[in-house]
């Protein structure tokens, strides 16, 4: 792993009225790393994700994403990131190829390049003959994998995955993570939020949020050692249980 910083967050504060959603976040994410972003519901993950992806402005703090200032250059950031959200994000009434063409076009890719990458993308999924099928006719697992590949089609510096494997069967989840590994190995940084603690084990580093603060940040192995438990799940339960002061 190289130590090129692609996301740098210093003293990030986000307030909604008197409610503090993100309280003084401080962390860095390095190029090519799989960074797990954990936390119970309402811990402030989504808020932070929206700020990092240029959707929302921070109240305070210095945030750099892919080399651009999140406050001043959100448009530049948007060009250099990919995004896939929890809800399924391809259009059911368009075919596989049309969806790819649409998102490629939105990210300003040339038609020829989109076509080339569509070919290799479909091959990667062993899905060549189904390029003209409507998305609505595909099984959910396949749709999720497709959505992920579409999110990295323009080869962004960072891809944000917001609970990408919700509602997907274990086999597909496994395959999905293999794709994440390949992507990270290709140099694309993966920033992923998840509820599945076994997935947290696959990450290079994880951060755990509770009540707007980051209460732990390290490699899964280091965290387990520190809290003297066997799994990240136990670490999570120990420190992120709502109402309990972080240890």
């Amino acid at each position: 792993m190289t130590n090129n910083t692609v996301i740098s967050v210093r003293n990030l504060v986000k307030k909604f009225g008197s409610f503090t959603a993100n309280d003084n976040l401080d962390f860095e994410v390095y190029q090519g790393e799989i960074f797990g972003f954990l936390g119970a519901n309402g811990a402030g993950k989504t808020t932070a994700l929206r700020i990092l992806s240029g959707l929302s402005e921070p109240t305070l703090g210095e945030i750099t994403v892919a080399g651009y200032d999140a406050r001043k250059q959100p448009e530049q950031i948007k060009k250099n990131i990919g995004y896939m959200c929890q809800k399924f994000s391809l259009y059911g009434d368009l075919t596989v190829k049309e969806n790819i063409m649409l998102y490629g076009g939105i990210y300003g890719m040339k038609k020829k390049l989109i076509r080339e990458r569509t070919g290799s993308l479909l091959k990667r999924l062993r899905f060549e003959e189904y390029g003209d099928r409507l998305i609505a006719d595909l099984p959910l697992g396949l749709k999720q994998k497709l959505a992920f590949l579409v999110a990295v089609l323009h080869e962004p510096k960072i891809v944000f995955l917001d609970e990408p494997t919700g509602g997907v069967d274990p086999v597909t989840r496994r395959q999905f993570w293999e794709m994440i590994y390949e992507t990270a190995a290709g140099g694309i940084t993966v920033f992923v939020t998840t509820h599945y603690m076994d997935e947290a084990e696959y990450c290079d580093r994880v951060s755990i949020m509770s009540e707007g603060k980051i209460v732990a940040l390290d490699t899964p192995a280091e965290l387990k050692k520190q809290y003297q438990v066997k799994t990240v799940e136990e670490v999570f339960i120990k420190i992120a249980r709502p109402g309990k002061k972080p240890g």
Binding site: F16, S53, G54, L55, S56, E57, E75, K78, K79, I81, Y83, M84, C85, Q86, K87, F88, S89, L90, Y91, D93, L94, E98, M101, L102, Y103, G105, I106, Y107, G108, F160
Partner: protein, 369 residues
């Protein structure tokens, strides 16, 4: 720009692939025009009348023939006694019964007056009024002929009525502008609010917002196809009403199209406003239909004249954009007036548009925070 065009193309694909959307866009306008034009016609044509002729002379025969040859009425049954009147009216086929008194012809010649009764079916008030008016007019006409032949000395004031702008009082003249007005608000406000809330509901809006597309491009890209297709609709309705009903456009076609564009633009901004307020498609549909379409039908002056409404409804009507467009389109199409006569309404529509856009932008920003 390329990004934007790809996005617009996608929106067209959504529209063309969805049968329901296509029906709403092109089926409903055509059906509405034909329905309103033919079925809800307020003209009288071949209404059946029955006769109870207690006299049975040459005079009553002449009057009956005149009624039946007018083109408005058709000869129904010949009744034998007054008990039958109720029976035939209940049968629903007969719209009115003409009753001549006994010795009608003789009385008319010897006494100079004779009685004829017109009995109409009051359960359909409009039809009854129309029927009795036409019958009275035909009988009055017969009176004049009779008086003319006998060179009557009495001077009569004879009103001669002429209907300006719509001489034959064709119902379509009233319905076509109304249908255009309603269809446009239906398509533009309803469909755009649905298509935008659908992206929100399916989570694709989030992905679009994170993409390099600017929010304004997203909204414009979603709305542009509907703008173009609505405009095609206006032209289709005008052509239909011209070919099928012979409805001319008396004023400037260019002005009419320009005003239609303004109205479409206004309706689209209303649709965007609804979509920023609605959380999901159901809400959007509810707001558009109940909040917009119903009042537009009832209070815009399309069916019921605003002047006859209780004052409070008149005020409600004043904040309904369709009302102004109906005035504009009627003026241009039927009266053939120019811009000078509709500039006030045009200005009001522009203000509506600006208010809707302003409010949407405010709503949108709040949501993005």
């Amino acid at each position: 720009m390329k990004r934007f065009l790809g996005f617009v193309k996608k929106e067209f694909l959504h529209i063309f692939r969805d049968v329901r959307t296509m029906i709403i866009l092109f089926g409903i306008p055509a059906v509405q025009i034909l329905l309103f034009g033919f079925v809800v016609s307020t003209d009288l044509k071949n209404a059946r009348v029955a006769f109870l002729d207690l006299s049975g002379d040459e005079m009553t025969q002449k009057i009956s023939d005149k009624i039946c040859s007018s083109g408005f009425f058709r000869r129904g049954e010949n009744l034998l006694n007054s008990n039958d009147i109720d029976r035939v009216l209940r049968g629903n086929k007969i719209k009115a019964v003409i009753v001549y008194e006994k010795d009608f012809g003789r009385k008319l010649i010897s006494e100079g007056r004779a009685a004829v009764s017109i009995i109409a079916d009051g359960s359909e008030p409009n039809m009854a009024t129309l029927t009795t008016n036409y019958l009275t007019a035909i009988i009055a006409d017969f009176n004049r002929e009779l008086a003319g032949r006998s060179a009557a000395k009495t001077l009569l004031v004879q009103p001669e009525v002429r209907m300006f702008y719509n001489p034959s009082l064709k119902g379509q003249f009233m319905f076509v502008p109304g249908v255009i007005t309603l269809i446009m608000i239906l398509i533009c406000a309803l469909m755009t609010s649905i298509t935008i809330t659908r992206e929100k509901e399916f989570g694709t809006m989030e992905v679009l917002l994170v993409s390099p597309l600017k929010p304004l491009q997203i909204i414009l890209g979603k709305v542009l196809p509907y703008f173009l297709l609505s405009f095609v609709d206006v032209i289709m309705i005008l052509l239909l009403s011209w070919f099928v009903f012979g409805l001319p456009i008396k004023g400037s076609l260019l002005l009419l199209l320009a005003e239609s564009m303004l109205y479409i633009f206004m309706s689209l901004s209303l649709g965007i406003l609804i979509s920023t307020a609605a959380k999901n498609m159901q809400q959007a549909i509810f707001i558009s239909l109940v909040g917009m379409l119903l009042p537009a039908v009832l209070l815009s002056g399309f069916i019921f004249p605003i002047e006859n409404m209780p004052k409070i409804y008149g005020w409600v009507s004043a904040v309904l954009p369709p009302r102004y467009f109906i005035t504009i389109i009627k003026n241009i199409m039927i009266k053939g007036t120019g811009f000078l006569y509709v500039w006030k309404e045009t200005l009001i529509l522009m203000i509506f548009t600006l208010v809707f856009i302003g409010l949407s932008m405010k709503n949108f920003k709040i949501r993005l925070q």
